[in-house]
Symmetry: C2
Subunit: 229 residues, 2 copies
Amino acid sequence: MQKPVHVVVPFKHRGAKSRLSSVLLQEERRLLAAAMLKDVLSAVQGLGPVTVLSQPGFELTEAKFGNDVEVLESELELNGALNSLIEGEARRGWPLDILIVMADLALLTEKDLAGIINCEGDVVLCPGRGGGTNVILIRDPRFRTCYRGLSFPKHLSLAEELGLRAEVIESFRAGCDIDLPEDLAELLLHGRGEARALLEALGLRPLENGRSGTERKTTDNIINIQPKI
Amino acid sequence: MQKPVHVVVPFKHRGAKSRLSSVLLQEERRLLAAAMLKDVLSAVQGLGPVTVLSQPGFELTEAKFGNDVEVLESELELNGALNSLIEGEARRGWPLDILIVMADLALLTEKDLAGIINCEGDVVLCPGRGGGTNVILIRDPRFRTCYRGLSFPKHLSLAEELGLRAEVIESFRAGCDIDLPEDLAELLLHGRGEARALLEALGLRPLENGRSGTERKTTDNIINIQPKI
């Protein structure tokens, strides 16, 4: 039985997943973001209390949350909101370690999370593609998040500056955040939850030439959707 | 002490890494391919005999191979060459299981390989990005490779057709093949070997906006290099 953690899932509901706009319509992107959040909440189930950290006006009728999930709305940007929460927990005497899990980790499994939680270290970091940080386990109240851009090396540097022991868990599934059109191919190939089912229902499938993206089947024809960066 | 395997590393020396041509000159791409091969050969060291499978005219003065490495030149395309080798080993009574490792897995570590070799199953598959297959451990002589395109689901289907037990090992490092400009950012961020050192010597570094690629520092200025797909 592992020690419970306080799971924090930042979720952007305004203009969510805008980098998928070449592939999905606005309403489809909203549904995908909701489906991925549900998949993530399902993966973190049982780890401890869960806070979905969002902006004011958060409403997500598709996502039915369990009893152990609270929604916290904040006007602050991502790091401001997260660090304010971390500081609040530090003032309360740090009742539980904090596990930050991005809401678009649609391939994440309970096993990946167990690997992170069972890892020693004052901070455990899980890198995403392109230098991002997809999961952070914080065991020391002095740590702060520095998301945006190349956050993974920034988080490592901060831990070093604070004299904290940082451990890194590299994971295929936890490392795959769904941001760009080519990521949808990963979701279609390796997903197991609602987000994959949604993409299939929308008629998306991975292109034969692997990393080029997805194609979409309509009743009349097949439209190739190439990544637009 | 684990059972030795016959490691096979397919290496394309003609027009290697052409999808990096927007970022690296031809000679730089050749050097990178050689550095990645060296990193891969270093990671597989000690697992058993190694065959580098290449095309006629293979010469790679940069890569100094150890005693346990033989170079096999074949006129056949990738699957033809690999399956011919598999059939040959089957005729010889299958002296060792075959571990196919792609030559561009520049983040691969001994630990990743140990995880694959210690996994049960008649076939162990390690997915790459976009539906590729980066490592295959073959324990049954009936298995054949079907590289190109979405090879990972094809390999899974073939195993099922043959009634073989296929196991999947998902790994951040073994899952990262270096094909596209944005992959160079992964290599710069997470690499530990010669390929990373080469990129740094060439003045490349990851762009601050994460997944957009790399930038190149020259003596006079910084040139942004965006992925071109």
